[in-house]
């Protein structure tokens, strides 16, 4: 996995609440057996009409947001299915950080596995960042994971929380499976204990 470096980029505003995984990546694109290439279909039904033409007023189609690397979104972002195609599409588009008042659980976890940093903030701060994002391409935000700080285009600093282990993995681009395999001994111990205690499993 790629390391999460300090991010200085354009933020796109998506104030809609309950943006679900079907909106993020419609199911017709789930038929892939690869992880890459989904970026062009990110938000497909909001982004293109039936003929495949871009819908002009969709935020990521606007000239100032085409290179967005941060998404400031309404409450309960990523609700719905467990499809990791959602973060794959987001990452493939080039978005590395999503900010909202809350995320659906599975989506939240999936982000970290794909080098995306989801940040949860209180409503007022999300509102403030939403306003900042609405300024467009000249207003770049900075997301510093190491320091756990977002800096708005006006220089206002907003601290955020992140799970220490997830932060460590993201900063160093660590692969979970490799880390877990280092604990193979603990797993084996558990298994031998369970074969006594709950042999029917």
């Amino acid at each position: 996995m790629e390391k999460f470096e300090k991010l200085h980029g354009i933020a796109a505003p998506m104030p809609l609440v309950n943006i679900d995984t079907d909106m993020i990546i419609p199911k017709i694109f789930l038929k892939t057996i690869k992880r890459s290439g989904l970026g062009v279909n990110l938000f497909d039904e909001m982004r293109y009409d039936r003929e495949g033409n871009e819908i002009e007023d969709f935020v990521l189609n606007k000239p100032q947001y085409r290179e967005a690397e941060i998404l400031v979104a309404g409450d309960n972002f990523g609700c719905g299915s467990s499809r990791e195609h959602a973060p794959w599409a987001i990452a493939d588009f080039g978005i590395k950080c999503v900010i909202s008042t809350s995320f659906a659980d599975i989506f939240f976890n999936n982000c970290f596995k794909n080098g995306i940093l989801p940040i949860v903030l209180p409503q007022e701060q999300v509102d403030l960042l939403m306003k900042d994002a609405e300024k467009g391409a000249n207003a770049r935000m900075t997301v510093d994971l190491e320091a756990q700080e977002i800096t708005t285009s006006d220089g206002e600093v907003i601290p955020f929380n992140v799970d220490a282990f997830k932060k460590h993995c993201l900063l160093n681009g660590l692969d979970d499976i490799g880390l877990t395999m280092e604990k193979a001994g603990a797993i084996e111990n558990y298994e031998s204990k369970m074969s006594q205690e709950r042999p029917w499993v």
């Binding site: 892939t32 690869k34 990791e84 220490a164």
Partner: protein, 468 residues
Amino acid sequence: MSPKTLYDKIWDAHVAHESEDGTCLLYIDRHLVHEVTSPQAFEGLRMAGRKVHSPEKTIAVPDHNVPTTAGREDPAQMTEESRIQVEALDKNAKEFGVHYYPVSDIRQGIVHIVGPEQGWTLPGMTVVCGDSHTATHGAFGALAHGIGTSEVEHVLATQTLIQKKSKNMKVEITGKLKPGVTAKDITLAVIGETGTAGGTGYVIEYCGEAIRDLSMEGRMTVCNMAIEGGARAGLIAPDETTFEYVKGRPHAPKGAQWEAALNWWKTLYTDEGAHFDKVVTLKGEDIQPVVTWGTSPEDVLPITATVPSPEDFTGGKVEAARRALDYMGLTPGQKLTDIQIDTVFIGSCTNGRIEDLRAVAEVVKGKKIKDGMRAMIVPGSGLVRAQAEEEGLADIFKEAGFEWRLAGCSMCLAMNPDQLSEGERCAATSNRNFEGRQGYKGRTHLVSPAMAAAAAITGHLTDVRELM
């Protein structure tokens, strides 16, 4: 020892390793796999030269993509991409040696229906699947999480999941349900109350008399939609109803093992005085048959109500409601029972079990579906289908004018050929009414099986109590 919740007990019984910061390796007893979220995970194993850690605890079945029409063994019935996914699962199941129910097997069906049916899902277990509706298995008092593909790969490789403990939430449904009110109405009513983010960060335990009174099928319906309420998982403490259901299933323990298992299972309940971080209580007798009017499962109203107006809401929900009404083609103030329906879909992991089909048969017996209505019933598994045929339900459906399909997810997410066309309006027993869920610009109203059956007969959303 301080009193524990059911969730605490199952959690504690599965921690294989705990780090200082509370991150745990949770041991996974059953891993269910389907064709859509697994190909990249198996590919990852192959590329890293890894094996499946416990193939005997891993169960694979194709369900999301498979056609549900006769003659589906013919690959020409599937789109190229669907075929590739199903074939990839065939190949991966063989190569990695996991249990497998191919399309040609009568036991094939929706993964969350097959697991319990075959006795793979047992009380006190941890169950995961690369599918959010894994919550279904919580009906057995199993801790069941939906996971993403990277986590699927992690579980395949290590039989564990990296987790932090969620908070405890109790949802109590007191008293008795009124006639015509079902498990589906309970679960939708709860989401209507808490919202789709109300359960975020929690594991829900459902309890109370109305929950106790439900069959295993009904309990599965309730837990299935815990995820629509935002929760990581839903749980119901196992009891005699559970043990009765599990006993004798192909993969349930037998003999002395059964006794040992039963002894442990009987300890799986929330202790008196255990702490819940959040409590929601609904009165069973207050719950009515409900429908969704919008594009989020929280957009729930009793069937007797009228379509709301965006001004009825606050915050970001005002805009979301406006967008939903526009998408759904509805006008504020319109009676829900005046909404005309083009299509009825009965099935899915929420309501594709035998009891659901019996409820439908009860409503449609001796009647005909409305002229021009497209109505299909897709049983949740090959075995549910066989049982419905044996009980004579299939004949009732066919005589009423329903299409009687083979098992799969079908129009629940419309990845197979069954889809809504633009503007087509559907009463569905599934669990999601998101934009485009059942087809591009398709409109979905979520209802119970009995309510779906009623709509099929009358041609509009209908209070099933009027047909009883």
